[in-house]
């Protein structure tokens, strides 16, 4: 069926295009519900036969991140070796020999991905499409939107959970990605929707992280500094959301300190003041001995497990989605595009900027709190310029003014950083270069100024036959 080879005649190319169109048409019939069923089954396949399949393909273990690291890092190593030993042929050969065993793993990894993820997902999604289409339609027709939404979220969570269950490492990465999504979205509110440039997000994150950590450790943990728990630790997990919210509010109060002086005027003030704020937060924490100073703060109960982090991320995405689609939220876009006109159209520009900024800071604080309770340890060094550049990169990679863009940016960059981790120092050369290329190609990011409506996401897709009929009937 497939058309391959170097000598492709025009007829064959056309056949290839037709095949591609056919594939595309087939895939277009699958609703989101179908894809979720597919990925859920794929992760279930991995759970059951992953281990033995990996062994059969002579892989040391189940590939952690879709085999990306197995595939990419030998290629980068070869590149590095070529750069290093340009003239020195024997040296090059010797180093290539050491890379060879890694290189030999690539076919196995590709086969694993194909057999475990791609094929089961595609097959199940396509075969179940008639059923899932009907189900999606039924859900939307019979129930309010949120019922369908919750079902999709549930399926998605189940997929994540099964996938993460394979290893501790995956569980950790998943939670980091989710936390990054919260951070990126909240920074996008300021840098994208409001059009200001804020650098204080690591500071807000630190405030949220420390505030919630102090609360949980003080009340629920037997700690050297803070003494015996004030409340029975058993109720701790139930009070955890409260600690996170307080952490977020503390960050909002911090945001007030940035907002009041900088929102009197527009321009670069916010960038400068917020950058200063980030450094102030960091050095204040470094000098507060009671919370560990530069050594960091530990003993946080590790309550931020996957369901908790997932739930908070879902709430964050939902709230920011709501906010950005409301006229009140869009006022910040009006302020960004023309503040004078916004004022002349009854928009309270100062309040709009304040609300958006404080709201963003709140979520940065919550993200910090979650981060602290994933790690069980934080230190002020985490919340510095490196973190800032990471979040900024996620925002600008994903795209300004777009909820989907931020999710994609956080996911993409976090995965990239993990995949390139074996490159160590080179990681920080490769990623910036990628970003520079991206900024030249698409200055506002991959998915900028694009909104995806939840209704469109969840709707059933038309089957081929009915979609062919529609134009004929002159709709």
């Amino acid at each position: 069926m497939e058309v391959r080879g170097s000598t492709v005649s025009p007829a064959e190319t056309m056949a290839g295009n037709a095949l591609l169109d056919e594939v595309r048409a087939q895939l277009a019939q699958i609703p989101l519900l179908g894809w979720l069923c597919g990925t859920l089954l794929a992760t279930a396949v991995e759970q059951t036969v992953g281990e033995s399949l990996a062994k059969a393909l002579s892989l040391p273990a189940i590939p952690g991140l879709f085999g990306l690291r197995i595939i990419l890092s030998p290629l980068f190593e070869i590149l590095l070796a070529v750069i290093q030993y340009r003239r020195d042929i024997p040296g090059l050969v010797a180093s290539l020999k050491t890379i060879a065993p890694d290189l030999a793993l690539i076919p196995g990894a590709v086969a694993f991905i194909l057999l475990v993820y791609i094929l089961p997902t595609l097959i199940v999604a396509r075969l179940s499409a008639p059923l899932t289409n009907r189900l999606a339609k039924w859900l939307l027709d019979r129930f309010p939107l949120w019922v369908s939404l919750l079902l999709h979220l549930g399926l998605f969570y189940a997929t994540l959970h099964l996938w993460g269950d394979i290893s501790e490492y995956r569980m950790l990465i998943l939670r980091f990605i989710l936390i990054s999504i919260i951070l990126t979205l909240s920074l996008n509110l300021v840098n994208g929707y409001m059009g200001e440039f804020s650098c204080s997000h690591p500071g807000f994150m630190a405030m949220g992280a420390y505030a919630s950590s102090v609360l949980t450790v003080l009340f629920f943990v037997n700690d050297d500094v803070f003494g015996a728990p004030l409340l029975p630790p058993a109720i701790g997990p139930f009070m955890f959301p409260l600690a996170l919210i307080i952490g977020g509010l503390v960050a909002s109060v911090g945001a007030l300190a940035v907002a009041i002086p900088s929102f009197r005027t527009r321009g670069d003030y916010l960038a400068i003041i917020s950058l200063a704020f980030m450094f102030i937060v960091k050095s204040v924490i470094e000098n507060l001995e009671i919370i560990g100073g530069p050594r960091g703060f530990m003993n946080q109960p590790k309550w931020a497990n996957l369901p908790i982090v997932f739930a908070w991320t879902a709430i964050c995405v939902w709230m920011i989605y709501n906010f950005t689609r409301s006229t009140i939220g869009k006022a910040s876009c009006a302020v960004r595009d023309d503040e004078t006109a916004a004022g002349a159209m009854t928009i309270n520009t100062r309040r709009t900027k304040m609300v958006t900024f404080l709201f963003a800071a709140f979520w940065a604080g919550v993200a910090g709190g979650l981060f602290a309770h994933v790690m069980g340890y934080i230190n002020p060094g985490t919340f510095g310029v490196l973190k800032l550049s990471e979040v900024l990169a996620m925002v600008y990679l994903g795209g300004l003014n777009s909820v989907v863009g931020s999710i994609a940016g956080a996911l993409g960059l976090q995965l990239l950083m993990e995949v390139l981790r074996p490159l160590e120092l080179w990681k920080w050369i490769v990623i910036p270069i990628l970003l520079i290329v991206l900024m030249i190609r698409r200055p506002t990011g991959l998915i900028a100024f694009t909104e995806v409506k939840i209704e469109d996401l969840l709707r059933p897709r038309q089957t081929l036959r009915s979609s062919a009929q529609v134009p004929g009937e002159g709709r």
Partner: protein, 256 residues
């Protein structure tokens, strides 16, 4: 009592006296014009009335309330809508969003509604949207409602700005050169739109305009401004024949 009354308004930019002893009284439903050479201070007067600048001296009274010291958004919400000389549209937003946003001060669902998507919010947003569509229909631009403004032709953008100003339900509409940069076709259309607004909505309109034909056609009385001072005021006929106006403005082209 006039709708808007400006009394002895003077404004300085540093040492420069931009507006001197300016007086104005507009009755409800009146259309008045403001003409004058470039740099005479016409737009400054608009900016003073709408609160972008605060007058050095004088009073601006709308419906018996002194506006001096209020923020632009408060003044706008009290009932003064405006358009700008150089279009000030929100380049990333759609036409519909423009018109909806101008109702910002009338939104009641508040932050809670915005964040949690309450039923009240969806009801209110639907209500605003319906009003917005009606307004767009009146302006004849409902077919581009969901387009981003930056992609629209110039004349349509002007109409969007007008629709946006009207959406805030002003009692007084300030139009800063509504026909600037328009071709003859767009021009006639715009004059019609302004007439329609006056007749159907009964607004008072105060407009700055350079095209004499437009001003003379539309306005009941006209003020002529030169170096921040009113040098003549009267009906179109009076203005046309006033020697000071001809000297300062109308006849300038021949001299220069």
């Amino acid at each position: 009592m006039p709708l808007l009354q400006v009394k002895n308004m003077t404004h300085f930019f540093g040492g420069l006296r931009a507006v001197h002893n300016y007086n104005l009284a507009i009755e409800p439903g009146q259309v008045r014009g403001l003409i004058g050479p470039n740099g005479a201070g016409k737009t400054t007067i608009f900016n003073l009335i709408t609160g972008i600048y605060r007058p050095t001296e004088g009073e601006i009274i709308l419906d018996g309330k002194n506006l001096v010291g209020f923020q632009p958004y408060e003044i706008a919400a009290m009932g003064i809508g405006r358009t700008f000389q150089n279009l000030r549209l929100w380049r990333h937003l759609t036409v519909l969003e423009h018109v909806k946003l101008a109702r910002y001060s009338k939104i009641r669902y508040g932050l809670i509604g915005a964040l949690f998507g309450t039923a009240e919010r969806y009801r209110e947003e639907a209500e605003i949207e319906e009003r917005a569509y009606r307004l767009l229909e009146m302006m004849g631009i409902h077919h581009v409602a969901n387009q981003v403004v930056i992609n629209l032709p110039y004349g349509t953008q002007r109409k969007v700005e007008m629709a946006r100003a009207l959406a805030s339900e002003p009692k007084l509409l300030l139009l800063d050169e509504p026909t600037a940069g328009m071709n003859p076709e767009e021009l006639t259309e715009m004059v019609q739109v302004i007439r329609q607004i006056r007749d159907e909505l009964g607004l008072a309109i105060f407009l700055i305009e350079h095209r004499m034909k437009v001003v003379m056609d539309l306005c009941e009385t006209i003020q002529t401004l030169d170096f921040g001072e009113v040098i003549a005021e009267g009906t179109p006929e009076e203005i046309r024949s006033n020697p000071r106006v001809i000297d300062a403005y109308l006849g300038k082209e021949g001299v220069a």
